[in-house]
Amino acid sequence: MSALDMAGMPSYLENTGPRKGLAAWLTSTDHKRVGILYLVSMLSFFLVGVGIGFMMRLVQLTPFANLITAKTYNALFTVHGVIMIFLFVVPGLPAAFGNFFLPILIGAKDVAFPRLNLASWYFYMSGAILAMLSLFTGPGAPDTGWTFYVPFSLHTGTNVSLAVFAAFVLGFSSMLTGINFITTIHRLRAPGMTWFRMPLFSWSIYATSWIQLLATPILAITLVLVILERVFGIGIFDPAKGGDPLLYQHLFWIYSHPAVYIMILPAMGIISEILPTFTRRPIFGYKAIAFSSLSIAGVGSLVWAHHMFTSGLSQFAIMLFSLLTMIVAVPSAIKVFNWVSTLYKGSIDFQPPLLFALTFIFLFCIGGLTGVMQGAVAIDIQVHDTYFVVGHFHYVMFGGTGMAFFAALLYWFPKMTGRMYSKKAIYAAWFPLFIGFNTLYFTMLVLGWMGMPRRYFHHLPRFNTGHDIATVGSWFLVLGILMLFGTLIHALFKGEKAEGNPWGGVTLEWTLPSPPIAENFLEIPTITTGPYHFPQEDQA
């Protein structure tokens, strides 16, 4: 079976059922359409989040801001965090690209539970709408920060209960997606698609799904306890009634640190897909990368209390969690070394997805290394709750997951839409994006090192130069993002028709026409080789 046989058959983008237009999309259980629904909705929320971040930087242009009130500023950083974490980075790669490509990569026609899959998107949207409602209704947008730390979140008059409930619903969506993907990988692999012939993106999704199952419920129950505390005053977190805020921090970070790995693991999977395609050689150390995904998921679930080194933990716990935190660096570094080794002596075809993949590796290394620094207790106590932390996690979350998201978008855009974008315009967008990113977030690292606390509305005049540099960086960053999105939106309508395999990739999605037909494969393929088996390897 080749792409030629499928030529002329309607693609998944064309409606063949009785419903037309938007209704056909909102009721479709096709994993590709669900993936697109996720993609479009989360990119919209991403832009809202970018806009809020842009405003926060504007406020910090002067030491004594008077653009907005301090209360509004508190709401801004809370909402920026909630949107970016819960609506974009956590569901981002698994829900959008995992949905679209996981079944195709393992040679399946759909996920194991297609209707449940669509239902998770509805949960996602309900959560998103509730989160948005919490901003504009009731007593005002939540001002606790995205971490909802008690006891403040118990007593603030703002709309915390609704925002917390929104996060609860979003967690539900995340768990259902995890259930679906694990079952899909266990049950729907094509004949011959053994575990070690699976593309590495599938491995990373598998590891991610397990964290979603094992960690998200802890967040769910913690958020339920916050709501119960606010409504009934059950007293578990409230020191006035004998409760303990430290318990909240434990429970919150038992989820929220593994959540960081929910965010970064699929990103690492994407990079492991892109590098072989553009170096024309199999990934170096396939099994090492696959197992490092599992061990990051495992060890990453055991490091949560490094967020609490200044909260009054026992000395023993501090030592233990510091050690465990440093251990996570090992599997992460294994991945980086294998990626670099893949590049070595490859026949490199320098295309936009590769550019963004390399950007990921560079920025992730900065993010990862600053993370190891904070794993050391003495440094952590120094930089805790400063801009250093903010810079660090933006390097990991945006420089890591965000760049990988863009890389995946550029890599699979022709496959998903059947159109090719202007590569020159992408290169042009990359420059302001990359320069703006580092100007903004590296400056934050420096500011934090100097002592600038996070979440402060006003800053001391001695930090002003740094803040101004960072704000200018944010302008370039936003410019780059807009150029990138503009290029892709233009390509969506005016782009050239893309071929079935524009990059010369060898994983299963490139055997399909662009865009793929509704049921992916006319006939389920039988797999006989590893995922990155390039024909020229045989000649050599």
Binding site: H186, R187, A190, P191, T194, L246, L313, S314, A317, L320
Partner: protein, 100 residues
């Protein structure tokens, strides 16, 4: 796709009958009695009951009522991974609570 590769995941063993479940139920009721009895002998004995008898009861329900005995390694593994994770969560949290 129940390809031969995965056939071991499907449950191969025959279903148990009424008698098995009745015996398990009787055991569960007896163990509940033991638990109550142990709680009569003071606090520490009650805690030992909690730590020793309760897991056995839960295991009986998982293993027989929930058919785990008759399932392949995958489902058993799923349960073990979950319980193992929870145990580690407890241990790590008590690395803080117990050493303050």
């Amino acid at each position: 796709m129940s390809e031969p590769l995965l056939a071991s995941e499907d449950h191969p063993v025959a279903h148990p009958g009424y008698a098995t479940f009745l015996k398990v139920w009787a055991a569960l009721v007896v163990l509940t009695g033991v638990l109550v009895l142990m709680s009569r002998f003071g606090q520490s004995s009650a805690v030992w009951g909690l730590l020793l008898v309760t897991p056995v009861k839960a295991w009986l329900v998982f293993y027989f009522f929930m058919h785990l005995k008759y399932e392949g390694p995958l489902l058993k593994g799923v349960v073990l991974i979950t319980l193992g994770t929870l145990l580690i969560f407890f241990a790590l949290m008590f690395s803080d609570v117990a050493f303050r």
